[in-house]
Subunit: 229 residues, 2 copies
DNA sequence: TTAATACTTGACCATATGGTCAGTTATGGC
DNA sequence: GCCATAACTGACCATATGGTCAAGTATTAA
């Protein structure tokens, strides 16, 4: 095999200069790819937004394709960092609430990354197909199994867990991906933290109540989320 | 003003040849724009998919930009055709159910159009900004007023109507926009009509139950969607 | 039949694209 | 101070882009 070139060996090493420039490039590229998609983005524009000459971007990233893949991988890593384990012993209401909250936070903290991901899927997921039908599918199936057990124990209605996961994904991601629509319709410049908090509460409430989630302590008794305010 | 040229006077007229070719071009363009975004789409590719030389596409459509705008307008027209009037006198459960169903049908019938719209919003809605903050905003506000009145009459929980509308939009559109993800994760080739029907029922149920929608006949009494299957 | 109009399309143009490369400058360990 | 290596970058290339145009062919109304 070829000797690993320092340039592309990845990971954390590399001088301070390299790290700084790569960060600038990745940030700029995330914006541009998110806005225009893979094909519509140009290396020239990324370079300008990063404040570097085009050659320099290619020097660090090798190619447009590699840069794009690296961004996707970074986004997947963020995702994976969020996927805490759950078991059927946990409180469904708490798990669903935490799930919605963390997805909402992801949309808040990484809107460009979220849009980049959306753009990739929208285009038929040419780079992410195996991830979707591999890793991510396994993750969904394992969560689905837990949901199903909750339903069997009478802790929630017997809804299809996969459709439920999609419901949570779509309704939370909406605020990053369709930000332009949300802002246009609500007539605001930005969404405040309070807005996001209220939306999170709304979504949590509808999902938990809508799926008939009950407290685990008293087996199959009290319903959750009935504060009449 | 200049005399209207037959070529671009729009509307229904034009020979059979024109209509046939324009349809082919529009269909092809919708696919290509949906997949690659405005910038990423090329007239050449659209022409190939339509089975015509590039010059011919430009002959009929004038320019890439005009073609794109025309597609957006066609999609907005479909949308508007769906926006039937509602009043506070209607049954909330029925209205919400019909709303979800028709949005779901739209995702089913016009997935490319849906993705085209999504791509436009994702890119910051450069062509649709005024539509969003104008027509569409008004539409949302008027529906929101009805939802609010329902809440005041005790026919549903006092949820924020705008977030509710976004919830319905996002969760239904998901099945068109993120089709690649849905298929990858569920491991299917396509979603069947039965799948769509079940998803529609699931979403309807969660929304109606989650928002505490009640029947209007008995003022603020029975809750809806409790079939324990 | 004829003339006007609609349609068709290959050649062409200026510009932008992703990517290469050679030559130069800066950096850091010794 | 030395030098290997990292960092930098303008010039360049083949190709693709959106769009124009002129010269054709098909269609149709009179």
């Amino acid at each position: 095999m070829a000797k690993a070139k320092t340039q592309h060996s990845g990971e954390q090493e590399g001088g301070a200069i390299r790290r700084r420039n790569e960060e600038a490039i990745l940030a700029a590229a995330e914006r541009v790819f998110a806005r225009h998609g893979y094909r519509g983005a140009s290396v020239q524009e990324i370079a300008e937004q990063a404040g570097l000459p085009k050659s320099n971007v290619l020097y660090y990233m090798g190619s447009k394709r590699k840069l794009y893949v690296r961004l996707l991988e970074r986004m997947m890593a963020r995702w994976n960092a969020m996927l805490d384990d759950i078991s059927a012993e946990d409180d469904p209401a708490e798990v669903l609430s935490a799930f919605i909250r963390s997805k909402m936070l992801m949309s808040r903290r990484h809107p460009e990354g979220s849009r980049l991901f959306a753009s990739e899927i929208l285009g038929g997921a040419p780079f992410l197909q195996e991830y979707l039908s591999g890793e991510l599918r396994d993750w969904v199936q394992s969560r689905a199994a837990v949901f199903r057990e909750w339903a069997e124990r009478g802790l929630m209605d017997p809804v299809d867990p996969v459709w439920l996961i999609f419901l949570i994904w779509s309704s939370t991601q909406h605020y990053a991906d369709f930000e332009a629509q949300v802002l246009g319709i609500t007539g605001r410049e930005t969404l405040s933290d309070e807005d996001l908090e209220r939306i999170t509460e709304f979504l949590t409430r509808v999902v938990i109540k809508g799926c008939g989630v009950r407290h685990p302590t008293k087996a199959g008794a009290t319903s959750v989320g009935h504060d009449p305010a």
